[in-house]
Amino acid sequence: MTELIHGMYAEGAPVVDTKAPAGPIDKKWTKRKFEASLVNPANRRKLSVIIVGTGLAGGAAAATLGEAGYHVKSFCYQDSPRRAHSIAAQGGINAAKNYKEDGDSTYRLFYDTVKGGDYRARETNVYRLAEVSANIIDQCVAQGVPFAREYGGLLDNRSFGGVQVSRTFYARGQTGQQLLIGAYQALERQVSAGTVEQFVRHEMLELIIEDGRARGIVARDLVTGEIETHLADAVVLASGGYGNVFFLSTNAMGSNVTASWRAHRKGAYFGNPCYTQIHPTCIPVSGDHQSKLTLMSESLRNDGRIWVPKRREDCDKDPRQIPEADRDYYLERIYPAFGNLVPRDIASRQAKNVCDEGRGVGPMVGDFRRGVYLDFSEAIERLGKAAVEAKYGNLFDMYARITGENPYEVPMRIYPAVHYTMGGLWVDYDLQSSIPGLFVTGEANFSDHGANRLGASALMQGLADGYFVLPNTIRDYLAKGPFPKIDAHAPSVMAARASVEERTARLLAVNGQRSVDSFHKELGHIMWEYCGMERTETGLLKAIDLIRGLRAEFWRNVKVLGSADTLNQSLEKAGRVADFLELGELMCIDALHRAESCGGHFRAESQTEDGEALRHDDQFLYVAAWEFGAGTPDPNQPGDSMGAPVLHKEDLVYEAIELKQRSYK
């Protein structure tokens, strides 16, 4: 290997081919579907696919492949596929239906998504996403998804996330739930038809590769503790995002990186791991006991005004006693044109800045107050309490339930929280990873959102991948099968199983002093401080050091009670945290190497005179696809060893869209 850059990583060969067909952007998908090999219906039953994850991406794919007649095995760690984290999405799903005749089109949705991603997404994939978006709505309505409707009985739309057209379909504040129930019901229909085998309370802990192809997984039955081998012709990971590396996030408690990380360790490239979205309007942390954070719709910023006291001394005063002259409406001050409606990343970063200055409000958490006011008093005066209640009543209720405060009387407090990870396993145009036969869909892949995701577009991507993209691309791969049958005792299978068993045993054997949660919290703290909203070279170097130390301590000092052969939630968490401890390091290395600011990735060294994110297209117009660097096991340092990762660059080519620098002043 060549010498290490920053002493941290090596650079390998660039990724030159993403497998997108040639030709104009609006013809590529049609061309690909036509050129992808077909599988004769009679042969489909002989072909099997494992799908890890039952969220929108995995549930939709499992149902669709089942309908097509393939033999599908579907896995989730919850007790039912319906509980996947997609259920929690609130705001809505985008689609270029142009029902409002307001100038929307496939091209505009494509353009908005690429621009929103700060020109760090792959054009060809995003165009396809916009292209299939309209079909998603048709499919969901046919399944009985109860989208909001107008009095005439037709579907309603709203504008969302700062775009100028109304293209967001929604089901009150429960869009994710309704879409997921639609996919779940389609999936259950296939379970009863016998095409899909469903494995709930199962966790994938290892990928099986045979003859260079992904051929199966090792999973643990979380109820009995049994380690199981599942083999197939192809494997799909739809296992969601990894925001829980920060410990506190809006993700579900069990959201994890394990499925992706285990595949990464076996050769799947990880794309842009440092791209994280931090959402500005979440309910602040109330104390050290906090286990997760709750998002409130960003529509609140349409009428609420964000402020903090001008003076630190006022921070613990009753906000209603602070006169106008002593308040700093900082977003309105810094961004007079957009005010409180600046994009998510900017709103989040400025909230952090004022709190770091010691002007935050609410309870002390650690050594400072982490909260800013979101004040509706003016809106209530202007519109009347009834109008505000009609618009935001359910959000106000949720806030009141969680905080015990009445937002009609006292300004709400909000603070940014980790919400979504744009990074994920690298995939080509077919959604195939760098391991043949391993496909990755939904939030788990890196592909469509660049360095920042627009509101209502993750649900769109999950369902686009699951219903329409993957089923078309995976058939090209499956047409080469069935692949040779693998013996359950083949060396590759036995080795994968042994590594899972050994790791499980090792976690239980440490029997140290500290709980899994205490490690997870500490890791989260490091990530939030140094790899959160604002990143610097010194901070990231420090974080990498801290994470390495923490990881070593984890394997020496973690305390996991109970046994491997029953339901053991501490053991489950321990395995996930062990993987987060490795991922965190890669995220910091990626953030360190990308010495520019783009989207949600803000490097303090790269800003304009006004303190805005400054991209460097001349140096960083590429996807960072990281290959795992195997380390040399150190007998004094138990636990998995990590070596220096290898960076493969995929240059981003913009043919349909012109590169511009964002500005919101």
Partner: protein, 252 residues
């Protein structure tokens, strides 16, 4: 907020499906009223772990009241004293010095797996029996081709809010799954897309419900009191009406 609470907890501990199980008493102190109920259990679990006692197993995932994963019997009430999910219940609903009894859902159709964790797969099997609309991917007509009158759309939506938590079953003296099932029958039955399979759906789902060992409905209404999503009792009337019609006109 200061003023931590001291509480006595009587918690169901059961090693596995075949263990008989028992209530065990724990004390926790300095509990913040701003904690959620499950965060209070997290605190207890950290203490148990430090002492070398295996933490208490309980389910939760979203902790936002939407995934339906959590669910505990809290001093006899499914999801506790407020009309919400267990994960959205906060400690300010309790008093300093209170004794709280925490048990799993109790129903033959929901066997205990360990401590407070139960197996609710019976609900999935009821959906498999017919809780869907048969439409293959790609064969859907244009979404606005079939308008849905707003009142019907609204009623369908209200029923579709069910999160499948099982509190209705736990609260019911007969452990019936009628509110859960009625919600699905109503959701799909109100929509034009749900009509073709409407009669077959109700017959199959009810048969599965009974085969799973859920009890029969005697209209006590305990289910709607416990339901965190406010699913109204009239979905059960809709189910019964549809079932009667199906039996008489379609021969079951």
């Amino acid at each position: 907020m200061s003023g931590g609470m001291n509480l006595t907890l009587r918690i169901w501990r059961q090693d596995g499906p075949s263990d008989r199980g028992h209530l065990k008493t724990y004390e926790v102190s300095d509990i913040s009223p701003d904690m959620s109920f499950l965060e209070m259990l997290d605190v207890l679990n950290e203490q148990l772990n430090a002492k070398g006692e295996e933490p208490i197993a309980f389910d939760s995932d979203c902790r936002e009241g939407i995934c339906g994963m959590c669910g505990l019997m809290i001093s006899g009430d499914a999801h506790g004293p407020e009309k919400t999910t267990t994960c959205q219940l906060h400690m300010r609903s309790f008093k300093n010095g209170e004794t709280i009894t925490i048990e799993p859902w109790r129903a033959d159709a929901f066997p205990v797996i360990k401590d407070l964790v139960v197996n609710r797969s019976a609900f999935d099997r009821i959906i498999q029996a017919g809780g869907f609309i048969s439409v293959n991917t790609g064969s859907a007509p244009e979404a606005n081709a079939a308008p849905v009158p707003k009142p019907k759309a609204d009623r369908a939506f209200q029923a579709a809010e069910c999160i499948g938590c099982g509190a209705c079953v736990a609260a019911c003296p007969n452990a019936a799954g009628m509110l859960f099932m009625g919600a699905k029958i109503t959701h799909l039955g109100e929509l034009p897309q749900g009509q073709p399979e409407r009669w077959m759906r109700v017959v199959k789902m009810v048969a599965q419900h009974d085969a799973e060992g859920f009890g029969g409905c005697t209209n006590t209404g305990a289910c709607t009191v416990a339901c965190p999503k406010g699913i109204p009792q009239d979905v059960i009337s809709t189910l019964n009406k549809d079932l009667r019609y199906a039996m008489t006109h379609h021969g079951g």
